[in-house]
Structures are given as C-alpha cells and as structure tokens.
C-alpha cells in the first residue's frame, strides 16, 4: 500500500456530495486514481456509479466537495473545459454520431486536439496530422475496414469500440469508461478487455463495469460504491476477501 502513496495522483475526489432535490444520491465519496492505474468502481444498481462519472466529467456539478485532475480543481467546470485539461469519458448508453461515418466520428474527436473548432478557411482534408491520427485511431480500435460505414449501422459491439475510440481521440491522460462491456457476448467482452489493456497503457483508467471477470483481471484496484459512499478501495485480491464488501455487494450478487 505504501507504494501507491508515492505515485502521483491523476484524479481525486474529496468528500463529494450530490443531491437532486431531496434525494441525496452521492453522500461523501472519496476516491483516488493514481497515474497509470486501472481502477474499477463496482457496486449494486443505483449505488451512484454513473452519477460519480457525471460529476467528474462535468455533466453535473457536485453539491459540495472537491474534484481534482492532477493538481487542478475541476469540480463544477464545463465538460469541454474538463476535456481540455485531459480527461475524457465514454457513456453507458452508446453515444456516437449515428449518421456520420466511423471515420468522421473519430475525426471530430481528433480535430479538437488541434483547436480547429472555429476554423472555416481551410478544408479539413488539408490537415495531414488530423488524417494521420484518425487513421491510427481507426486501426487501434480495429475499425479500419468500417471507416466509411455509418456509425449507426455498426454492430453493437463495434459501436462500443467506436465509443472507446472517440473517448481516446482527444488523447486524454485520464479516461472514464462507463460499462464498456454492457450487453456484450463473452467473446466480445474478452476482445474489448484486450483492447482496453492495450489502449490504457500510459493513461489512467477508471471503469464502471458489472462483469466481475473483467474487473478482477483488468484492474489494479477496485472501489466499492454502495448507497453513494465508497465502502472499500483495495486490490482485487483483498476486495474479494473483504467481509463488508461480500455482505454489501458480492454476496448478494452471487446469491442472485
């Protein structure tokens, strides 16, 4: 454990709360993602896992508490600002540009890196670097042969790959993936797990996932979120043997 303390922190949440009206959904979450780490958040349905991602990525503002990306406070910033600071996320429900080609989906992500948002005097085709990086990304998520297919016409698992590719397009230091394997078959899950292992090299990854095989084999540490609070953060081995966790989550999951 002492080793982890020496590593620089990529992302941290300090006593983060979020209420929607009367409903107190996130009740004091503390989390730490160290650089280069693969960190899973698990927990029963309704524990607030996706809400935590929404808070980190700027979709929601926390009611109180502090979120830091490296040394920079990001709580309450707009999503695009947080993205500029080096954090990108994927979505639980596939969130792509369905009527644009796969290539265009990725290029929109890559383009942003070069600050081309308001460029209207040069054709996009003239930016060799954008093209090169987009092709590279296509290759990385293994969608090169679908480059001209519309995003909405891909198979479900290919759309999930595209979603991951779009998340990587801005070359983020920290990636949040919200249930990347949801609804996938066994083979597709294995394939995606392999993809994640490759793509997360040199980055810090936080992942919400229900597939315990993936979580326990892929991740360095696991945090267990129950009723808006983190009840444990530890290595997969220790989480598996943690009595409290077993009672709160794993036990019920196994029983069910």
């Amino acid at each position: 454990m002492s080793m982890q303390n020496t590593k620089p922190v990529a992302l941290s949440l300090r006593d983060v709360h979020k209420s929607f009206g009367e409903a107190h959904i996130i009740r004091g979450v503390n989390l730490e993602l160290t650089e280069g780490e693969r960190h899973a958040i698990i927990g029963p349905n309704g524990a607030g896992k996706s809400t935590v991602f929404h808070l980190i990525s700027g979709q929601f503002k926390p009611s109180s508490g502090e979120i830091k990306l490296g040394q920079q406070v990001i709580s309450g910033l707009a999503p695009e600002k947080i993205n500029h600071l080096g954090l990108a996320r994927s979505f639980q429900i596939t969130n792509i540009f369905p009527k644009l080609s796969v290539y265009e989906n990725l290029r929109l992500g890559v383009m942003q890196r070069f600050g081309l948002q308001f460029n209207l005097w040069r054709p996009i085709a003239g930016f060799a670097k954008v093209r090169e990086l987009t092709e590279q990304l296509l290759e990385q998520v293994r969608l090169t042969r679908h480059r001209d297919t519309l995003g909405g016409e891909l198979s479900y698992s290919e759309q999930r790959s595209l979603e991951i590719g779009m998340t990587l397009a801005s070359d983020p230091k920290v990636i949040l993936l919200d249930e990347p394997m949801a609804g996938m078959s066994r083979e597709e899950t294995d394939y995606t797990a392999e993809l994640l292992r490759e793509l997360s090299v040199g980055r810090s990854l936080m992942i919400v996932e229900h597939d315990m095989d993936v979580v326990f084999s892929l991740c360095d540490r696991i945090s267990v979120l129950v009723y808006g609070q983190v009840i444990a953060t530890d290595t997969p081995e220790n989480i598996r043997n943690n009595k409290q966790v077993q009672e709160a989550y794993l036990g019920t999951e196994v029983a069910a």
Binding site: L100, Q112, Q117, N119, L120, A125, T144, R145, R147, D148
Partner: protein, 432 residues
C-alpha cells in the same frame, strides 16, 4: 496482416471526405458547369419578365441554401429567417442611399452591407436562441422574428413605414444597372460566389463540426467542444448569407418595406428547403428555384397558389421525405438498370400528374363556386349556373363535373398504388 496492409495504403488512396458517398463526382461537376453556362446564357433568350423571375429564383435559392446551413446541416430549425433576410435588405438599401454607389463602395459591392446586417442580427439572435435546442430553439427564433415584425412598422426612420425605404441603383464599373439583364448578372455573380463559399464551408473543420451539432451535440461537449459557441458561429454564417440574399432582393426591387419581416417569408424558406431536400447541399436551392418558378408561373392563373404550395409540401413530406433531391440519392442507391428505374419514374410521374390534375380541378371549381362574383349570380330556387373553367362551361349540378376530377384522382391513385406495389415486389424478389 491484411489490416496492416490496408492501413498503410489507405491514407493515400482513400477519399478524404469519408462522409460523402463516393460516386460520380465527375458527372456532378459536368452538370454544375452546364448549369452555370445555362444560367450565363439565359438572358439571351428569355423575356424581361422571365429574367425578373430568374432573379427571384436565384435570390430564393441563396436564401434557402443559407437557411439550410442552420437547419439541414446544423440541425437547428429556424422559424424566423425572414428577420435576417429583411435586415439584410434594409441594410443594403440604407447603404445604397448613403454612399449612392460612389467611392470605394460602388453599387455591385453593396450587398456586403446585407451580409454585415445579417451577421450582427444573427449574432444577437443566435446567442439567445442557441442556448436552447430543438423546439425551444425554433420557438425563440420565431419569437425574435415576430418581435422585429411587430416593431418594424413603428420604427419609421429605419424601416420607412408603409411606403418603405426606396432607393436607386447607381451606375458603376461601366454598367448602368438600369436593366433587368444587368441586375440578373449582378445577382448571379453574388449567388454563385455565395453558394461556392457555403459549399467550401461544408469542407472546413467548422463545417464538419456543424454536422456533429445536428447528430449529437451532447457528445461534442465531452469531446471538448464549446457547443454554444459553435452553434452561434453556425447561426451567424447562416444569417450572413441570408442577409446577402435580402440585400440582393433590395437591389433588384430598389425598395423594401416592413412586409419582408412577415412570417410568411420565414415559412416559405422552410417549405422550399424541405421540398428540395435538406440532406443534399443543392437540395434547398433546387426546391426554392422550382417553387419560386411555380409561384411566378401560376400566380397569374390562380388565386390558390398558397394552397397548392401547402399541398405540395404535405405530399412531398409524406411520400418523398428526402425531398426532390432525394430522387438522385434513390437513383444512385438502387441497383436496377437505368431503363427499369426510368420506367418506374415515368409511371410514378403519370400517376402524380393525374392526381394533381384532379386536385387542381376540384380546387379551382370550388374556388370559383365560392367566389363572391359567382354567389351574387345565384337565384333562389334556380339551379346554379354554369361556370367557366379551362375554357369549358361546367354545371355545378351535373354529375360529370364532379365525376371527371374524381376519376382523375382515382386513376392516378391506382397507377401510383400499382407502380409502388410492383416496385416493392421487385425489391423483395431481389432481396431473396
């Protein structure tokens, strides 16, 4: 290994615009060049009134294309584009009066003021309206345009009250700009240059981002884009070119009054664009040109042009939701031979024309029967007298008067139904 090879030669060989279906770009270029030549040659063999109609068609085509940047490409349906068109018109008129075509700003350059007027109004309106999306966006654009419409009659110093703001085209660069033909070429130059710029825009990073705004603005935020700023930019570009179109109308008419702000113009550009098809760059321009020409050709013959416009819109939306330009996409996408497709197109056209004839007959009959002139001729207890339509006398009480249009509609309907059924069967057969 194969994927590796692919990735190595793909960047060189692949078409750069992946989103565009690669197909017959050469043919498109030839067609465009032919169209441009035709437009250049047209005044040589057209009557003055047709040249005037052509000017209107060009202006409306530019208006629809500018509108489509926002609606078709950016997914923001504006119901208030008359505002930017009108501001462009008045800005140009005031510029014409102020500088009277002298000095650095000769007459041909004055629509620039339309662009500036449109851009500034678009910036303000776009800033507020694009804070919301979907229906709320549309409602705000409608409300802002109506605000201007309500305000304009009271601002006599700016919009000239009922009589409007008159002006004169001054000679410049050796042209008098006194004849419709000169105005036609001036309009053509502006419209062609504007459309070229708008087309170029679709190829730029912001142009690509515009499609992203339409498809999924929420996702763009998490890709690092300031969505509100992007929307405002797209709005300003659309309003700028709309302002140019307004400026061209002002130059052509040498006057405008507050009626240019009427909601009718806002809705006309929506209808024209969707009839032409918002999914294709030249679709809205095509729709606007066709509908403006129809309006010109038919408005002398009938008082029900607006009704026909509405019927055409409903029919296109119901049976060809991709608009007139959707036919091109359909032609390309279908695998059958040209002759087969042409046969179906002809059959559908015949059916449509028969139905149209039936509808026109009924509408014109009713319109004449319900007119005051005719109603005054009626005598209590006497059969309704014959009325004149298409050079024939028709008795409203006679069966044949009503049987004819109904038969036309029925035959047309059957032709359409049978053709569609056969087309369906042909495709089903192919699929198996």
């Amino acid at each position: 290994m194969t994927t590796m090879n692919n990735s190595l030669d793909k960047p060189v060989a692949a078409p750069v615009l992946a989103a565009k279906p690669a197909g017959a770009p050469m043919l498109a270029k030839i067609l465009l060049a032919a169209l441009l030549l035709l437009l250049l040659a047209m005044p040589g063999f057209l009557s003055t009134s047709l040249v005037n109609a052509a000017i209107q068609m060009l202006i409306m085509a530019l208006f629809a294309s500018a509108f489509n940047v926002l609606a078709g490409q950016g997914g923001m349906l504006s119901f208030g584009h008359a505002a930017y068109f009108g501001i462009g018109a008045f800005a140009t008129l005031h510029a014409m009066n102020a500088v009277s075509g002298q000095g650095l700003l000769p007459t041909p350059l004055l629509p620039v003021f339309g662009a500036i007027g449109g851009a500034i109004t678009g910036l303000v309106a776009g800033w507020f309206s694009s804070k919301r999306s979907g229906v709320y966006f549309s409602m705000i654009t409608l409300a802002l345009a109506e605000l201007l419409h309500a305000l304009a009659p009271h601002l006599k110093s700016v919009f000239g009250g009922e009589s409007g703001v008159p002006s004169m085209r001054m000679p410049a660069w050796g042209f008098t700009f006194g004849t419709p033909v000169e105005v036609y070429y001036l309009t053509l130059a502006w419209v062609v240059a504007s459309l070229a710029l708008l087309f170029f825009f679709t190829r730029t990073p912001l142009g690509r981002l515009t499609l992203g705004l339409r498809e999924n603005a929420h996702r763009l935020k998490f890709l690092g884009y300031n969505v509100h700023m992007a929307r405002v930019m797209v709005f300003v570009i659309s309003a700028t070119f709309t302002g140019i179109a307004g400026g061209l109308l002002a130059m052509s008419n040498e006057a405008a009054n507050y009626s240019v702000f009427e909601v009718r113009l806002s809705s006309e550009v929506v209808l024209n664009s969707y009839i032409g098809g918002v999914g294709v760059f030249f679709g809205p321009a095509l729709g606007a040109a066709v509908m403006t020409f129809f309006g010109y050709a038919v408005s002398d013959l009938t008082r029900s042009w607006l009704l026909y416009q509405g019927i055409i819109f409903v029919a296109v939306m119901m049976f060809m939701p991709n608009g007139l330009s959707g036919i091109v996409a359909w032609w390309r996408a279908s695998k059958f031979t040209g002759a087969t497709k042409l046969g179906y197109v002809l059959a559908w056209s015949v059916g449509t024309l028969l139905c149209a004839a039936g509808v026109v007959f009924i509408v014109e009959l009713l319109q004449r029967m319900l007119s005051d002139d005719y109603q005054f001729q009626l005598v209590q207890g006497q059969p309704w007298p014959a009325l004149n339509l298409f050079g024939q006398a028709w008795l409203p009480g006679a069966v044949v008067t009503w049987l004819l249009p109904v038969a036309l509609l029925a035959i047309g309907g059957v032709v359409l139904k049978l053709t569609s059924a056969r087309w369906q069967a042909l495709n089903d057969g192919e699929a198996q």
